[in-house]
Amino acid sequence: MIRLAPLHIKLLRDLRRLWAQALAIALVMAAGVATLVLGVGATDALDRTREAYYEENRFADVFASATRAPEALLAEIEALDGVLDAEARIVRLALVNMPDMAEPGSLLLVSVPRAEGLNRLHLRQGRLPEAGRADEAVVSQDFAAAHGLLPGSDVQVLINGRKRQVTITGIAISPEYIYALGPGDMMPDPRRFGIAWMPHDSLAAAFDRQGAFDDLVLKLVPGASEPRVIARLDTLLEPYGGRGATTRKDQMSHAFLDAELRQLRGMSRVLPPIFLAVAAFLVNMTLWRLITLEREQIGLLKALGYGPWAIVRHYVGFVAAIAAIGIAIGWAAGAWMGAGLAGIYARFFDFPYLIFTQNPRPYAVAALVTLGAAVAGAVGAVRAVAWLPPAVAMSPPAPVRYRRLWGGALERRVRFRQSAVMTARHLLRWPVRTGGGVLGVAFAVAVLVGSLWSFGSIERMIDLTFTQTERQDATLVFAEARPHAALYAVRHMPGVLRAEPERVVSVRLSHGPAERRVGLAGVAEGGDLSRLLDPTGQPMALPDAGVVLSEALADLLTVRVGDEVVVEVLEGDRRVTRLPVSGLSQGYVGLGAAMPLSALNRMLGEGAMISAVRLTLDPAALPAFHAAVKDTPQAGFLSLKSLTLSRFRQTMAENITISTTVYLSLAAIIAFGVVYNFARISLSEQGRELASLRVLGFTRAEVAGILYGEIAVVVLLAQPLGWLIGTGFAVLVVRAFSSELYRVPLVIGPEVYAWASLVVIAAALASALLVRGRINTLDMVEVLKTRE
C-alpha cells in the first residue's frame, strides 16, 4: 500500500465529488484530442500511404501525350538532364459492351508497364498479359468488382472500330488511377469506366502506332527542375503533336487525393482549437468556483506551512487529472474513428494497403496541447489565491456586491418579476463568465452551422450543374476529334431527340506570369444543352468573340472582362492566339473556358471538327440508343447524367450520414459541457438563495425556473452569435475545400441555422434537466443553520 499525502487524498475526493463536472470537461477535451488525432492521423495515413504506394510502384512525375511519336525519340528524352526513366505508352479510350449493363461502358486502354517501368501495377489476382497477345488484358479492380469479372472472364471491347474478345488475365490497381474518372464525368463510376492494361505492342498494332507511342510518363531525378524538363520535353514532342507535359499537380487521380488531404488538414486546424478553448474556459470557470469555496481551507493549509507552489501544484494536479481522463477518452475515440475513416478511404480509393500506423506523434501532440489548455485555464484561478497571506485567505471574502441594472432606470420603467431580476443581476455580476458561457454555447452552434450548410450547398451545386448548366441527358465523347459530319450520324441514332456538337481542346491560358492548362470548350451556337450562367446565376448568351472564363479561372489568372489572355493550343499545330475575355461564368466543377464552336474551329484551323455530342433522349428508346452507341466505332465514352447524379448522391449520402453524426456529437458535447458546468456553478453560488426561496414558499419549479432562466438567457444569446461564427467557419471551410477541381458554393439556408439551434437547445435542455435533481433536493434546513 502506498500512503497518499493528504493533498493527494483531497485531490481524489474532489474528483469524486465533482465527477460529473469533471467528466463534462473531460469530454470536451476528448473531442479536441479525438479530432486532432483523427485529423492529423488520417492526413498522415493518407499522405504516407500514397507516398509509399507511389514509391513502390514508381509513380511518374511528368505526364505527356502526343499524336504519334517515334520510339527512337525515347532515347533522346531519357538523356534529358534530370530524367531518370521514361516509359512510352499507348493510351486510348474504348467502348466496352458489358452484358450485365444496358448502357455502354468504357475502358481506358493503357500499355502494360515494362518489367522495371513506371506506374507499375499492383496485381491483385491472376497474371499480366503475355507479350504479343492482343486478346489479353488486366483490368482495374473496381471495374472487375462492379461486373463480377475474374481472371478468365471475357469482355467485348470496341478497339479502333473493331469488336474484339479480350480475356482477362488479372486484376490490378495502379497509383495512376487511385481515383478513376471517365472523361467528362463528374463522379467515378466503376461500373461504366475502368482501366484495361494490354501489352504495348498489341495496342500499338491495333491503333496503327507500330514503333511509336502517343503517351509518355517520366520519372525525374530527385531535385530535378520540373519546369526545365517539361520545357525540353515539349520541344522534343512538339513535331509529333505533343500536347504539353504536365506534372502530378494536373494528374487527375493525384489532384483528387490532394483535395481530400486539404479538407482533412482544414478540419484538423479548425475543430481542435475550438474544443481546447472551450475546455480551458470550463476549467477556469470550475476551478474558480472550487477555489472560492475552498479559500478558507487554502488559508489554513498556508498557515500550516504549505507554500504557494504546493497550492498551485494541488489545483493544477486536479486539472491535469481531468485532462488525463479527457486525453485517454480522446485517444481511444480518435483511434477508433481513425480506423473507421481508414475503412472509408479503403472503400473510396484503391490502395493496396493503408498505412494507418499508430504514429505516436499526433497522440503526443494532442496530449500536450490539451494539457497546456487545461493548465492555461487553471493558472488565472489559482494565481488569485495561492499567494494570499494565510490570514487574508482564511477570512471570508468580501460579500459579493450587486448593482441595479443601468442604475435602476430600466427597472423603474418596467416591473420585472423579482426572480427575473435575480437572474439578470447574477448574470451581469459575472460578465466574463457569462460571456464565456455564451461564447462556448455559440461555438456549439457554430460547429453545426459550419458543417450542416454543406447539404444545402451540395443541392445547389447539383441544381446548378445538373439542371441549369448541363442540360443534356447524355454526352457521347468521341475517342478522338471527328469531322462535323459525325454529328448527323449521332442525330440519326434511335431515341435521339436533340443533339448538339461540342469540341474541347486542351490549351494553356496565360495572363502575365499566371497560367493554367484547361480544356477550352467550343459550344454549339444557338444550342441549349450546354448553358453558361453569369455570376448572378442567370443564363448568359455566349458572346460571338472572345472567350468566357469561369470565375475561378479568372481569379487564378487575375483577369477581368475586357482583358486579353494568351491562348496556346496544346494540340495540332499548337497555335498561339490572344483572345479578349468576353464574360465570366459561374461553375463549381473544374476550371472552365468556353467560346463559340465555330470561332474555336476557326482558331484551330483544322476545319469543322467536334469531339463530343450532347444529347437529349427519348426515355422509351433508351435500350435501342445504348445498343447503337455500342456499335459506334468512334465513340469513346458515354456519360449519362442520371447515372452520374445518382452516383453522386449515393456517395454523398454515405459521407453525410457519417459526418452528420460526428458533428452532431461534437456540438452536443460542447453544448452539454458548457451548460452543465455553467448550471452547476450557478447552483453552487446561488444554492443558498434558492434554498431560502424554497423556505419562503417558492415551489421546486419556480426555484428551478430561476436557474433555468439564467441558462436560457445564455443559450439564447449564444444563438445569433453562433450563427455568425458558424457562417465564418463556413467561409473558411469553403476556402479550404475549394480546389481547382471543384468549388463549393456557400449557401446557408434558414433551415441550417434552425437545425443548429434546435440541436444545441436540445443538448442544453438535457444538461439542464440533469441538475434538476439537485435543485429538488436543496436542503432548506441546512441553509438556515449557517451564515453564508
Binding site: V421, R429, S692, V695
Partner: protein, 237 residues
C-alpha cells in the same frame, strides 16, 4: 384571552436523525397547542430540539412520528408540494442569519414574497412597519445586521401570515438592535394578529410573551403564562 381558538396542535411529535449507525432523538413526543394571535417565546438549552420543532410546524421538515395540525391541515401528512403551499400561504419565517437574497434590494426582497402571496400588504408598508422606509433601495450588503434582520421581518410579515416563526432572530445582534427587532415583532403581532413563536437564548425576552414554552432533552419541560407583559424597552439583557 377568552376561548382561544387553537391554530396549532401537535401530539406525540418525534424526530429521529439517523446518520450511519448513530441515531439522535431530536424530539421525543412533543404535545403542543397555540392559540390564534398568541406571542410565544420558546426557551431551552442548546440541542434540546427547539429548531427541530419549529421547522416541523413551519413545514420545513418532516416528523418521524406523531401528528401536527395547522388549523385543519394535517402537516405531518402533507407532501412536499403541500408543505410548500402551506409555507407560501400561511407562514412567515425569520432566522438568525436573515437569509436575504443578496442580489435584491430591501424593497425587492420584500416584493419577492408579495409577488407570490395571496393577500399581501404593500412592500413599502411592510418596511415602514419595521422602520426602514428610508432604506428601501439598499442591497443587503449595504445594511447593518439589525437592518437586514428587520428587512427579513418585513419580508416575513408582508404576506399577512397567520403564523410568524422566528428562530433566534436577535441571536446575531447587539442588545439595542435586538430591542428594535423585538419591538418590530411585537408590533407586527398586534397589528396583523399573527400567531408568533420566537426561539431565543435570552431568558429576559420571556417577559414579552403571552406564554413561555421551555424545551429540554427533546421535549417540552414546562409552560408558563405571563399575566402581564413587558415592553421590549423594559427588558434588561
Amino acid at each position: 384571552m377568552d376561548a382561544p381558538v387553537p391554530i396549532f396542535r401537535a401530539h406525540g411529535l418525534t424526530k429521529t436523525y439517523r446518520s450511519g449507525t448513530v441515531e439522535v432523538q431530536a424530539l421525543r413526543g412533543v404535545d403542543f397547542q397555540a392559540a390564534a394571535g398568541e406571542f410565544i417565546v420558546i426557551l431551552g438549552p442548546s440541542g434540546s430540539g427547539k429548531s427541530t420543532f419549529l421547522n416541523i410546524i413551519g413545514g420545513l421538515d418532516q416528523a418521524t412520528s406523531g401528528e401536527a395540525w395547522f388549523m385543519d391541515h394535517e402537516l405531518t401528512r402533507l407532501s412536499d408540494a403541500g408543505l410548500t403551499r402551506y409555507r407560501r400561504d400561511h407562514v412567515g419565517f425569520v432566522f438568525q442569519f436573515y437569509n436575504l437574497v443578496p442580489s435584491l434590494t430591501a424593497l425587492e426582497n420584500v416584493r419577492l414574497v408579495t409577488e407570490i402571496a395571496r393577500r399581501p400588504m404593500s412592500p413599502r408598508e411592510a418596511l415602514a412597519m419595521v422602520g426602514l422606509e428610508d432604506r428601501v433601495d439598499h442591497f443587503p450588503a449595504e445594511l447593518s445586521g439589525g437592518e437586514q434582520q428587520r428587512v427579513a421581518i418585513a419580508r416575513a410579515i408582508s404576506k399577512n401570515p397567520e403564523v410568524l416563526l422566528c428562530d433566534e432572530p436577535t441571536g446575531a445582534l447587539d442588545s439595542a438592535t435586538g430591542v428594535r427587532v423585538l419591538e418590530a415583532l411585537m408590533r407586527v403581532n398586534e397589528a396583523i394578529g399573527a400567531t408568533t413563536l420566537v426561539i431565543t437564548h435570552n431568558a429576559a425576552i420571556k417577559d414579552l410573551a403571552h406564554r413561555v414554552v421551555r424545551f429540554a432533552n427533546g421535549g417540552i419541560s414546562g409552560v408558563e403564562e405571563n399575566t402581564t407583559r413587558k415592553s421590549p424597552a423594559e427588558v434588561s439583557w
